[in-house]
């Protein structure tokens, strides 16, 4: 079943202090950080990483705890980049960033939850409205009755309400019927 998808790494921009640390199914996000406890709070005094479409370059790289292969790759990065192979360039990218833009923009199944939830609440509201119509509403005013409504329509036609483009314009006065 699709669960509520809390967007991973959705941190606020630097002006807001709200950080929602997502519960991902992979957990890979937490494991590559050396300075992060298991608790849900984030140390806001440290530079943060984020995956955001509108703010592309986070304050720190994705992986800052590098093992020896990563460290040697970073050393090679200090030289001419034409010496790097394609795989090495991709590996350097993956050290620096968690998701690519297409990965950030990947579609999710969240819409099904949203639409389903909407319909559920429509249904509950419908039940409430029905119950209220039966148990809460007072009797209708007498002006709603058939006879009164007919007399009302006749009076409106007698007064020639909107005789040009509106109500009485639809009534055929000669033949006494609707046009």
């Amino acid at each position: 079943m699709c669960m509520l998808h809390l967007t991973t790494g959705r941190v606020g921009c630097l002006l807001s202090k709200q950080v929602v640390v997502a519960l991902t199914s992979s957990g890979a996000r937490m494991s590559s950080h050396g300075h992060h406890e298991v608790s849900d709070s984030v140390d806001m005094s440290q530079p943060m990483y984020w995956d955001r479409l509108d703010t592309p370059l986070p304050d720190r790289p994705w992986k800052d705890v590098l093992d020896s292969t990563d460290k040697s790759l970073k050393q090679k990065e200090k030289g001419p980049w034409t010496a790097l192979s394609k795989e090495e360039k991709i590996a350097l990218y993956r050290l620096k960033f968690n998701h690519t833009y297409p990965e950030m923009k990947r579609p999710s199944h969240e819409w099904k939850t949203v639409i389903g939830g909407m319909f559920i609440f429509f249904g509950i509201t419908g039940l409430v409205v029905f119950w209220q119509g039966h148990y809460v509403y007072p009797p209708q005013p007498h002006t709603f009755g058939e006879e009164w409504q007919a007399k009302q329509v006749q009076r409106m036609l007698d007064m020639q309400i909107n005789p040009i483009e509106g109500f009485s314009a639809q009534w055929d006065y000669k033949n006494k019927q609707w046009k």
Partner: protein
């Protein structure tokens, strides 16, 4: 892998040069459509109605129907 450098400047200007004439044209079309589709027929309908309107006759019809409080229907 050498991609072309993307356009870095003049993006808003380019968008405006494209969209503003279209926006103006569509607004004018909307206004003209409303004028000739709604207001002119309406003016004509009112003019036609009042050409044929006999105020005294209609007043008497309404009076007989009993909608006035200042004049009662003729008779009892």
């Amino acid at each position: 892998m050498s991609l072309a450098k993307p356009a870095m400047r003049g993006l808003l200007g380019k968008r405006l040069r494209f969209h503003l004439p279209i926006a103006f044209a569509l607004s004018l079309v909307a206004a003209a459509a409303f004028k000739y589709g709604v207001t002119e027929p309406r003016k004509q309908a009112y003019a036609d109605f009042y050409k044929q309107y006999d105020t005294t006759k209609e007043f008497n019809n309404m009076r007989e129907a009993g909608v006035f409080e200042s004049v009662r229907p003729t008779g009892k």
